[in-house]
Every structure is written in C-alpha cells, then in structure tokens.
C-alpha cells in the first residue's frame, strides 16, 4: 500500500512555525503527494510558510482562548478525520504541546502512537525508526490495523527544505466536543531571559554533568560556552538535582543537538544523554574516569579533572577573545 496522504501538526512560535514543524513538512512531501498541515493560534498567519514547505492545505483550529493546545487541537483533528477522511498518518513534532496533542488524539481515535521517531520511510507502508539503548541500536516499527497512525518525531531528524511552493489554502478546523477535558487554562506566561545562541541551534555546545561536583561550578560551563559563542547544556543528572533549568537538558528527555562541536565536561555518557548529542559533528570529552562511556564516542578525549582542565581552557580562551 503506497502512501498518499499525510497530515503534519505545525506548531506556531513567535514569527514562524517551529523548525521541527518545517522539518516534518519537508520530509512529508518526499513521502506523499498530498500533504496537509494543522495549526492553531497565530499559525494561520504563516500560511505562506506552510505552503512553501509543502502543505497544500493549512487547517486552522483558531484561537484557543487560553486553553492548553493538547485537548482542543486533538479534538479538531479527530473531527477532521471524520469530515475529510483519514490520512495515512499524522506527524507531530516532539515538543511539550506536541506530545499532549498526540496522546489526546491517540485515545480519541483509538489508534496507536509511536514516539521518539528519528526516521520515517515508505517500505510498502510507513516504517518508523527509533533509537534505543543510547542510539546503539535502531528499532524499526510499523502500524497495523485500520486507521491513521500517529507519529511523534524528534527534532533534527529531517532536513528542513523549502519547496518554493505557493501559499497553503487556509481551511477552518473547528474544535469538536471536549466536555470537561479542555478546562486547564494558561493564566500567565513567563519568558526566561537567555542570552547567546539557542541550545538547539548553537554551533558550539558546552555541557556539564555530575562530575562538576556542585551547582556553583556550573558557571564554568556558562563562561566557556560564552567564550566560544556557544550555548551551555546539561545532563539529566544535574537538571534533576535542580542545578539548572530543564530547558538546558540534552538527551532522550531533553533536547537533541547536532553542533559542530559538543564539549562534554564531567559527563559520564549515560545512554539517556548520548542519544541527544551523538549526532554532533565533533565530540570533545573531559572526564576523570578513563573508562567513562563518553570516551567511546568522543573524537577527542582528555582524561583529567574537569576542575583543572576547564578553568585552564577558560583562561586560554580569554587570551584569544
């Protein structure tokens, strides 16, 4: 069975769709001739971008009036499956709201969801790829039974490429029945000020782990990142310990990064972490344990005390700044 129709959930951000949304649209149009996108909030104002990246139709759920997107968007998509007919699959970006939409939709449609997808191909039907055990093995999977599968794709799995196509036709996709489920509302949004490049876009990422010993030492990571015009990152261990916010986390649970160089400081290389950074072009590791798993994937390793090597590195970088 060949793939004819794919729907892509495209998430609006400040002045465009998120990068992951565009990556999904780009890949969808290489698999199917008929690609539609679904958005909400300010998304309809980016119809030209949706079209440019491959969507012919942009379904617009519209303003959510403070509701979290998960319930209303899933309900609108479920209604759309009824009215417009089901696509072969619905692709959703991995994000806070994307996972909510996918979960809600799965239960509504009584169809399965496959998450942490990093590859998607047509092998007489859609086949998904999932990295397991820190990315050392890849599981390939497919849906069975009738109806669309829901596929949640990790960032940077595909290349976002403009097709140069014309604007997408905007079609209203009203929210269906939600009963009591849509009653969680956003009362206030807080933006945390950050300087320097974004973690997921930075050409240089300097990350710290438990080997730093204490929260105060994380300032070394920030300083080194700044001197290299990069972004600071973190392992799950120190995020769980409350040293830095969740948004700094690189790994299975956190962000996927593919910088020109990733510098892991005091990070042993748990599978959870590796899956988020092993796509980096170059990996540098500083760790006092010569047997730390991180050295198995590092292009350049220094077996040494991060408390000595990192301050020395900062000093050298300062003289060159």
């Amino acid at each position: 069975m060949s793939i004819t129709s794919l729907w892509v959930v495209v998430e609006p951000s400040q002045d465009s769709f998120t990068t992951t949304s565009l990556e999904l649209l780009s890949h969808a149009r290489s698999l199917a001739t008929n690609v539609s996108a679904i958005t909400w909030g300010s998304g309809a104002t980016f119809a030209a971008q949706a079209g440019e990246y491959g969507a012919m139709t942009l379904y617009d759920v519209g303003a959510l009036d403070g509701s979290l997107p998960g319930v209303p968007v899933a309900s609108a998509i479920a209604a759309l499956v009824q009215s417009a007919g089901a696509p072969d699959a619905i692709l959703v970006p991995t994000s806070y709201d994307g996972r909510d939409i996918a979960g809600r939709l799965s239960a509504r449609l009584d169809r399965p969801v496959l998450t942490n997808v990093t590859g998607l191909s047509d092998e007489g039907g859609l086949v998904t790829e999932h990295p397991v055990f820190g990315g050392t093995q890849t599981v390939k999977a497919r849906f069975t039974g009738e109806g669309p599968g829901i596929i949640v794709v990790r960032a940077k799995s595909f290349v976002s490429e403009s097709a140069g196509a014309s604007t997408a036709a905007v079609v209203a996709a009203p929210v269906g029945e939600t009963a009591n489920t849509a009653s969680a509302r956003i009362a206030n949004s807080h933006v945390e000020e950050r300087t320097g490049p974004k973690l997921e876009d930075a050409a240089v990422v300097v990350s710290g782990g438990r080997g730093l010993g204490e929260a105060e030492k994380y300032s070394m990571i920030e300083e080194a990142a700044k001197l290299l015009n990069g972004a600071p990152g973190a392992s799950r261990a120190i995020v769980d310990a409350g040293w830095v916010p969740y948004s700094y986390q690189v790994g299975q649970t956190g962000k996927t990064v593919k910088p020109t160089v990733y510098i892991a400081c005091g990070i042993s290389g748990a599978t959870q972490h590796m899956v988020g950074m092993k796509g980096s072009k170059n990996i540098v590791a500083i760790n006092k344990d010569a047997d730390a798993p991180i050295f198995q994937i590092a292009d350049f390793g220094i077996v040494g005390d991060v408390h000595k090597v990192l301050p020395a590195l900062i000093e050298v970088l300062k003289t060159r700044a």
Binding site: F133, A184, I186, D299, V303, K308, L313
Partner: protein, 257 residues
C-alpha cells in the same frame, strides 16, 4: 484529598539493557521503582499532608513477581498499591497501558492523578495524556510546581520559552518533571510499615479488558532491530597540565577557533 500516582517498575537503568526474542525489553532481572516516579510519590505525599486528609495510592502495570519497587513507594508513605499483572499484557503499547490504568483508577476516581513525564525505560511519554483522555479529565504536563488551593490546581508548566502558570479544576491529571520536589528516603519505620500495607494484584479479566489490551491491542509491531551507525572513539590523552592546550589545538583543527 486522594491522590493516585502511576508508577512503573523497571530494570535498573544502570545495568546493561537488551531486547528479548520478541523485541520486548528484557525485564527478567531485578526490577526497581523508576526514579522518575519518586517525584510524583513525594509530591502526592506532600499534597495529601497539606490537605490534612486523604491518602496516596500507587497504581502500576507489569509483572507482580517482584513488587520491591511498589514496596519502596509504600515505604515512602503511600497507603496502598494496585498492580495489574497478566501475561497477556506483554507487548502492550502506551494506549493499551493507559486503558489498563484507566480501568483501575476509574473504579474510584481520586482528586488528582500524578505521573512522571515519561518512564526511564520506554520513554514514550504519552501514556499519562492518553489516560487523562480515557478518564475524561483535564491534564497539565511538564509541571515544575504543583499547588492545590480551594479545590483547584495551580501548576507552573515548563515551556520552550520559560513557563506558563496553568489553572485547572479537579479532578485532573498532572505529569511532574524530575526535580519538582526532593523525594524522601524511606525511613526504617516506613520500610517496616510497608510490609503490612495492601498490594492488590489484578488480572486483565478482573478489569473486563480481555482481548482489548496487550500485544493483541497494540496495533503496532517492530519489524526489525538493527545496529545503528556507530561513532568511533578518537584520540584520548591523560591530562598532564596540557589538557586545555590540547583541546584548543583540536578546536583549531576543526576551525571552531
């Protein structure tokens, strides 16, 4: 206030992991309480304590041959545990798991359901929201703070840019990020008390879900497992006071400096 915490017993993430012949995660070894779940247990205990009445129940699905992980939650202070254990549940997907949990929790709806954002073995991260939808409840995911006031919920929810203050009526389901609270260590008294706390073991038939869940209900299958493209270890030096210079030279060689 009654709180249900969904927990999972998983193979120790620090031990080597493998897939069995049917491509399921090998769970034949010792199972422990997923560390990600300890935050929900702690949060539940604190909320019930603050409310002044009610209790914490932990609900799980998986093999009941080893319930040390559930006993751990009971030792922390949960009042009772329920585990759905059935051979037919092997190979369940996240929706099937949510159906099982919904059948258990729906018997006696609590005021609040807490889950981790995702388990540390499967990382699917969709079961909680599927569960909320099946139970007809609102949900707030990625909570970094949870407060219950006057019968409603105030949650600070992680976002890409920072966080949102979200309000919701109860009952509701919340997923908590790791680090949201500091999980307590079970006291000796707690460990002793846990030995006598009830652990209810249910089968799929007990819940009237035969045929709807497990591998049969999963409607997804693994077609193959292949070795991923592997990275090779590169140069490695022991720092002799020149580690920083060596790194700088490497950064120059790749034109980052």
């Amino acid at each position: 206030m009654n709180v249900v915490v969904c927990v999972k017993q998983i193979p120790d993430p620090a031990a080597p992991q493998s897939l069995d012949a049917s491509h399921n995660l090998d769970r034949s070894g010792k199972l422990i309480l997923d560390e990600a779940d300890t935050y929900g247990v702690e949060m539940a205990l604190q909320l019930v304590d603050k409310a002044g009445s009610g209790e914490v129940t932990v609900v799980s699905m998986g093999s009941a041959s080893d319930v040390a992980g559930l006993r751990n939650a009971l030792a922390m202070g949960a009042a009772k545990a329920v585990i759905v254990s059935d051979d037919s549940l092997r190979g369940s997907d996240s929706l099937g798991t949510a159906k099982v949990l919904a059948a258990v929790i729906g018997r006696d709806m609590p005021d609040l359901i807490l889950c981790a954002t995702e388990s540390s073995d499967g990382y699917t991260g969709t079961t909680p929201v599927q569960l909320a939808e099946l139970l007809g409840l609102p949900s707030v995911t990625f909570a970094k703070s949870v407060v219950v006031e006057g019968g409603s919920l105030k949650v600070d929810r992680q976002t890409e840019a920072g966080y949102d203050e979200v309000t919701s009526p109860l009952p509701a389901l919340v997923t908590v990020t790791a680090g949201v609270v500091e999980p307590r260590y079970a006291s000796f008294k707690g460990i002793m008390a846990a030995k006598n706390k009830p652990v209810e073991v249910l089968s799929v038939a007990d819940l009237g879900l035969a045929g709807a869940v497990g591998q049969a209900g999963a409607r997804q299958e693994i077609t193959e497992v292949v070795a991923a493209e592997s990275r090779q270890a590169g140069e490695k030096y022991v720092d002799e006071g020149d580690g920083a210079e060596k790194i700088v030279a490497f950064l120059e060689s790749i034109k980052v400096l």
